[in-house]
Subunit: 286 residues, 2 copies
């Protein structure tokens, strides 16, 4: 895509900016304070696409992204995997042994848990790694480091103490690309469809819901249970039952009759069902 | 249980301590710094049972608890649901309008998201609400509040500005009780079994795995996908595929032949399979 306008939650130097510049090198970036604002920018046609990180292979799902998908009316049109490189940064002249504190987003602290445990430091959560970089730079903190993208070093006058500071390589994060209108699937590509549904009360509802895929030999690639935030509990007399919604990714395109029938079967036990998107499977990384 | 020795991650005044004192009023408490230490205390017979919070109806799963379940060799012997009451605390004489910052654990900040949005404050993450209570008390912070248990007010000389500060009532959290040896299920109670498994490579593996329950009419109550931290990616040439493990709760006891057969079927496609416990379903709250 050329000159596409890409909205995302982030600011210059964040890891998601590094992703956007790599995935869409010719794009106009629209960095925003919140992911919700990025999706709203697309809804109101101020941007063409929005980016949501959805899962990291090592630390798992970005659960808030699942909630945001549901509360907005966009379509997933693409998935892109990136091998995320995290760097440990500090002020010039500061060595690893000088560090007493490491700042970063909780997800990045988790992706570097083992590397961090080798240092005698405490961890401090910030909303973005760059927030930590700014604090270190402005307050001239010579006993603190931050886990961030390499570009943040340039922007905040820091040195890279270690590249590839993450515990696992490849450290793959999967991102979703969202747009206002769906892409029409081509028949011969390998497609994936993402749906979200709630279930009617009754015995065996989840079993019946998943059976609808099983009966048609459609493979599921992921199942994510999330609380039904509109109605987190079902109350029956003294019984209080957890009430979930389910996000399912399956390997079939919506042009496939099996997929259409599976969703018809699912509708019979679902309190609601929404197709979040149908897009080409991507198994390589950028 | 009388005089049972209960280990958990927490300190006096934490919400989990309130849970332990309510669920096991005659117990000896063993508060520890980390959940892992609580499970290790049971493994080494220093405590009888360990407590893990597993999910909140509003904010979802405690994902770290799932990882900890896998890395320790204990059995789930009971589940207990509690209606968690969160209080907003501050120094005596401080009013809601004076607050500029609210401290708490990210889960509790999330459970009070709407209530907080009504105040003009910034949120600060701490490992436990009581850490925030201690900071406010020691540093005499008259512009800060903390979300915590009512008992923390007594312990740290704070006032309760608002009871039931959480957005949802009932605000139910489900806790697991772990012990060294399994309880033998009685035949006529309603039992639940929790398992965790990985999958062999091959088409439709997850579909086959779940089909093993579906074919036998066994209802699943929860499915949780987590990264396989030992091997987060499957690499095939240039393809990099996410590699999950699955936590499944189903409504049947291990004495039920259907459950035994379902697990035999599951074993055929599983790279590993472990029964985490078999315990009575609990749908009421304390």
């Amino acid at each position: 895509m050329c000159d596409v306008c890409v909205a995302y939650q982030g600011s210059p130097g964040t890891v998601i900016e590094a992703f956007v510049l790599k995935a869409f090198p010719e794009c106009t970036t629209v960095p925003l304070q919140r992911s919700e604002a990025a999706l709203e920018a697309v809804e109101s046609s101020l941007a063409d696409i929005a980016i949501l990180p959805i899962e990291n292979a090592y630390t798992g799902s970005f659960h808030k992204s699942y909630d945001i998908l549901l509360s907005h009316d966009l379509q997933i049109v693409q998935e892109v995997q990136m091998d995320v490189e995290l760097c440990l940064l500090a002020l010039p002249g500061v060595h690893k042994d000088d560090l007493k504190t490491i700042f970063s987003h909780p997800q990045y602290l988790a992706q570097c848990e083992h590397s961090i445990s080798g240092l005698s430091v405490s961890k401090k959560n910030v909303d973005h790694g760059v927030v930590g970089a700014e604090i270190i730079s402005k307050q001239n903190l010579r006993d603190s480091g931050v886990i961030c993208s390499a570009r943040a070093a340039e922007l905040y006058g820091l040195n890279i103490l270690e590249c590839n500071f993450q515990d696992e390589s490849p450290n793959v994060t999967r991102y979703l690309v969202l747009a206002k209108t769906a892409n029409l699937p081509k028949e011969h590509d390998q497609y994936k469809t993402s749906v979200v549904f709630g279930l009617e009360e009754g015995p065996g509802a989840l079993c019946k819901a998943l059976g609808s895929f099983w009966k048609r030999g459609i493979n599921l690639t992921k199942i994510e249970s999330r609380p039904n935030r509109g109605k987190p509990m079902r109350i029956r007399g003294t019984e209080k039952l957890f009430n979930y919604i389910f996000y399912v990714d399956f390997e079939a395109s919506m042009t496939d009759v099996r997929a259409q029938n599976a969703l018809k079967g699912l509708e019979e036990v679902a309190s609601f069902l929404r197709v979040l998107g149908c897009y080409p499977c991507s198994t390589t990384t950028i």
